[in-house]
Amino acid sequence: MRIPLLPALSARTVRVRVSVGLVAAVAGAVLLVPLLFPLDEQAVDMANKLHPPSWAHLFGTDDLGRDVLLRSVYGLRVSLLVGVVAALTATVIGTAVGAAAGASGGRVDRLVMRVVDVFSSVPHLLLGIFIVAMFRPGVWPVVISVGLTHWLSTARIVRAEVLSLRSRPYIDAAISGGASRWRVGVRHLLPGVLPQAGLAAVLMVPHAIWHESALSFLGLGLPTHRASLGNMIQDARGTLLAGDWWPTLFPGLFIIVPTLAIAGLAGVWRERINPRRRSELML
């Protein structure tokens, strides 16, 4: 019998390790790089403009001579910040609405779920565009527009979870033990839905980044002095038409890689909390 030198890693373990590594790399980059390499957003260096990728500038330089790698890290930082805040907003709204609907039941539940249905018949990006257009582009309108359009799925998930938890014996036991409605809700129902809500929040972050970058690209997002990845891709349009691809390509990869890493981790998390629904579809 041959004894392998290294234990064979399952595909799942590899996926977990790669995802964890990428998430750690992204977190490290956005936290450490600004400390090590301060970037003056306004500084231009026309002598070095539009250098293709090289050892001095791994991702090349843009039309104002700025390092694309460094700017992408800064852009990712802005996008992540907006994405996380927007995802948290959406999760708080969704959990509150879903829990209220599920716990109240009856007429309130039906009414709330109707409202959710109405909200979901307007495409998210269009609703976001409308809100930002009315409130002028800026950081907060973007956060609010992404938050206000993304709570629907969380509300549905949390409501379903509350409905299934409500019929469990331990809830009956708590009620017959004399617990108040509030206590049942906060002490017994909320902890039960938190894993699902947390998973929804984590999966929401890439969505929020995606939406923020789309809004910024359309000129309806963040102001250009807080360049996010979407702003950078929009800025690079002119250089791309002149044939220089690197200021466009790399910021886009900075959107894709964190999205895949987070989706990979969330897939594992989902298998943990729902072992029976081991779906192959991650997204």
Binding site: P123, F135, A214, R237
Partner: protein, 340 residues
Amino acid sequence: MKRELTARPAGRRALWAPAARLVGRRLLAAVPVLAVVTFGVFAVAAASPFDPVQQYAGSAGLNASQETLDQLRRNLGVDGPFPERWWHWVTHALSGDLGDSTALRQPVSQVIGERLGWSVLLCAAGFLFAIAAGTALGVAAARRRGGMLDRAVTSVSYTLEAAPPFWLGLLAIWLFAIQLDVLPAGGLTDTGSDAVTAGAVLRHLPLPALVLGVSQVPWFLLYVRQGVADALDEDAVRGARARGLSERTVLLGHALRSGLLPVLTLVGSRVPELITGALLVETVFSWPGIASATVEAATSTDFPLLAALTALATVAVLAGNLLADLLYGLADPRVALEEM
């Protein structure tokens, strides 16, 4: 309860009446949804700092007296509280008058009439590409699950799903229009001419349709792959193999048919994603459709156009959902349309 006991009348005729009733019910249900959506749109506008009078007056409004501004407010019909303005808008919309677009300086209904066709053309072409490519690659991937092709196709799908369509569009322009110079970079007409000819449309359509299609492929592909792979494990397929049918017949005649049907019925529910994709792709390629008009309307805070287009998008989503349910009833005889 009673319905389950009575046998379902056979034949095609039996399907039409429930389908018509479903359409009727959905039309009735669409009325309150549209009312709530447009009311919400007016409420958001009322809560925002946006003021149509100042937009109309422009810099002249800075020197105008309060009386002039109030007069202007009345003339523009924006002096009342927002529920009143909403009702005014709804009653006019019912007679076909959606107001005037402030950015494009023409009636909103004319903007929609001129541009809707181009958007439908782009979306249809993109979606057909997505269905064709998704089916072919999905079946190929499902044939050998876990094989090289399957892993490659799935990884690329997840990557494409994460990639923003506008970024894909820009890269496609770089590759096809600038490096290879085989397709035009955008617009609908050739440089230096305004005439929309069939040839020009045929040259300008492929690139945006390809990008829109590619952004929709991952979803479709992953579902087809799952559906066909599940179908390959079913008894019917085992039976077909046992009868000695060729692998090709088993795959295309049995597994694909039962695996694809549930996916096809979901197509209607993809309208929101299609609209989202169109908003970005039309802007990248300066496609003169309704979605790029939406973005223009938003950057210049063109409220009449935005309100009408939001309502229009809602109608499209509801129609898509209805289509999905109808197809579902057609595809699966066990589903009773009465219950949807």
